[in-house]
């Protein structure tokens, strides 16, 4: 599904290779400044590599701008404000999320699917679709941004430290819900986290970014 070959970005990434199979859920860990977010930037198109190729679902997307990759790559960014529009309602944000697929209207079935995904988080967001996002708590916002990112058709989901600003209780709830949604939809997913509690429990394998290289972290059985 995703193949990176010989990716170079200044001093951050040096001839980095990565291969993720369809339906595989991969956790990426590593210290600050090791280039994890740059790696996501290269995959999503927010950063252009000086060398190497990004192949998604068999297509070379290296030179395709970020806004034209969104039908294939969906992202939840570390900065919660970038994942939604605070001045709009939940419903308006949902419409924008579905319009990513190219259409300009959202069907009743789409709205029902969206609400049922929101209900997985158990925050009662599904019954507050006309609430303005600025009135939501941090956990509710992150839940909304994850549901928005997993709306419409996409091939690869990128999650960049989605629990970093949340309390432990809300983090556990969000991680559990992400697990449920990605398992249910057999999502190909790449997730960056600093939280070592999820290092071996989430997804299929764990990679550690160190010295611009990704190394497999063995999981205890």
């Amino acid at each position: 599904m995703l193949k990176l070959s010989k990716i170079c970005v200044r001093d951050t990434l040096k001839f980095l290779d990565l291969s993720v199979a369809a339906g595989e859920r991969v956790l990426v860990v590593g210290g600050n400044g090791t280039g994890k977010s740059t790696l996501f930037g290269v995959i999503s198109g927010r950063a252009t590599p000086e060398h190497g190729n990004v192949i998604v679902d068999g297509h070379d997307v290296t030179m395709i701008p970020a806004c034209r990759r969104t039908h294939a790559i969906s992202s939840v960014l570390q900065d919660m404000k970038a994942g939604m529009i605070e001045e709009m309602t939940i419903m308006e944000n949902m419409k924008l999320a579905y319009m990513r697929a190219g259409g300009s209207k959202v069907s009743k079935a789409d709205i029902d699917t969206f609400k049922s995904k929101l209900s997985i988080f158990g925050m009662n967001l599904e019954s507050r679709s006309h609430e303005y996002v600025r009135n939501l708590s941090g956990g509710e916002r992150q839940a909304l941004s994850i549901v928005m990112a997993t709306s419409a058709n996409y091939k690869l989901l990128l999650l960049d430290e989605v629990t970093s600003a949340l309390s432990q209780r809300v983090s556990d709830l969000v991680m559990h819900s992400i697990d449920e949604i990605t398992s249910m939809e057999k999502t190909t997913c790449l997730m960056i986290t600093h939280d070592t509690r999820y290092m071996y429990s989430f997804g299929d394998r764990t990679l550690e970014m160190k010295d611009s290289v990704l190394r497999e972290v063995p999981r205890s059985t």
């Binding site: 806004c67 970038a82 605070e86 709009m88």
Partner: protein, 285 residues
């Protein structure tokens, strides 16, 4: 105090210039782009109108032609900003400055053109002009409620979000500028038909007038649903005209026509101070 006839004229002028206020709203609020092209594109609309009407063109078609001219000015500002990375304020100032000469050329190198004796949308009554303005307001309001309008607003609120969700920010910015300046030029066209002449300096202060209308309108009619704020712009424009007219006709205040900019500036400062006070009180609570 002002008479009924002066009040009706204020409403009429306010309604026409409400179209300009909508154009200003579309850039400053909707796509969050400080566009200064307004003073130039307003005259472009008026200049195209004057020349075409003097050559016997249909006055309704003339409004459309003016919108195309204004739209082109907006596209130029957009290209300068997006393609050549000129700051939004500077791009608009350069285009507005350049348009002065372009508008003069369109007008055959004369500073003003009168066409009082030619057929305009005001020839029979003011009703056709009211219909044209209503159609323009309805079109923009419907657009703002559409998926396209939602994307346009998303660009103004959060460019990073817009990119993440597949919205081409550059394309939407240029389209927003084109539509905004098309509306401003339509305002220029209708206003010049109302006056029966076009002056190359007639656009001076139009941007400030548009901003003042938005401030007055959104302070009085604050709709929760943003697309409806388009109606606040028109209401604000009408109320602004009425305020100005009352101020100029008040013997007590003793304000004269030459004090118009001072009055406008004071109205804007007053509203901003009031809004600041409301925000401070809300925070204190």
């Amino acid at each position: 105090m002002i008479g009924i006839q002066e009040l009706l004229t204020s409403i009429e002028v306010g309604l026409i210039l409400g179209v300009v206020a909508i154009g200003v709203f579309m850039t400053f609020k909707t796509i969050n782009f400080a566009d200064m092209t307004c003073d130039g594109s307003f005259v472009s609309g008026a200049a195209v109108t004057a020349v075409l009407i003097r050559n016997g063109a249909n006055p309704y078609f003339v409004v459309l032609a003016s919108m195309i001219a204004g739209g082109m000015a907006g596209v130029l500002t957009g290209i300068l900003n997006i393609r050549y990375k000129v700051a939004d304020l500077l791009a608009g100032i350069i285009v507005a400055y350049t348009l002065y000469s372009v508008n003069l050329m369109v007008m055959g190198n004369v500073p003003s053109i009168a066409f009082v004796d030619h057929r305009t949308i005001f020839s029979d009554s003011a009703l056709p002009a009211v219909v044209v303005v209503t159609l323009l307001v309805a079109a923009v309001t419907c657009m703002m409620f559409s998926g396209f309008g939602l994307k346009l607003r998303a660009v103004g609120y959060n460019r990073q979000f817009a990119t993440t969700y597949g919205i081409d920010v550059n394309k939407m910015t240029v389209l927003g500028l084109a539509m905004s300046n098309a509306m401003i030029a339509a305002g220029g066209s209708i206003f010049s038909q109302f006056q029966g002449f076009c002056d190359v300096s007639g656009g001076f202060g139009m941007l400030v007038m548009g901003l003042a209308s938005i401030m007055v309108g959104t302070s009085i009619l604050h709709f929760k649903r943003e697309p409806l704020l388009i109606l606040s712009c028109v209401t604000g424009s009408i109320l602004y005209r009425i305020f100005i007219n009352i101020a100029l006709h008040s013997d007590v205040l003793g304000i004269k026509t030459q004090n118009l900019n001072l009055v406008t500036g004071l109205i804007m400062i007053g509203i901003m101070i009031m809004k600041g006070g409301v925000k401070r009180n809300a925070k204190a609570k």
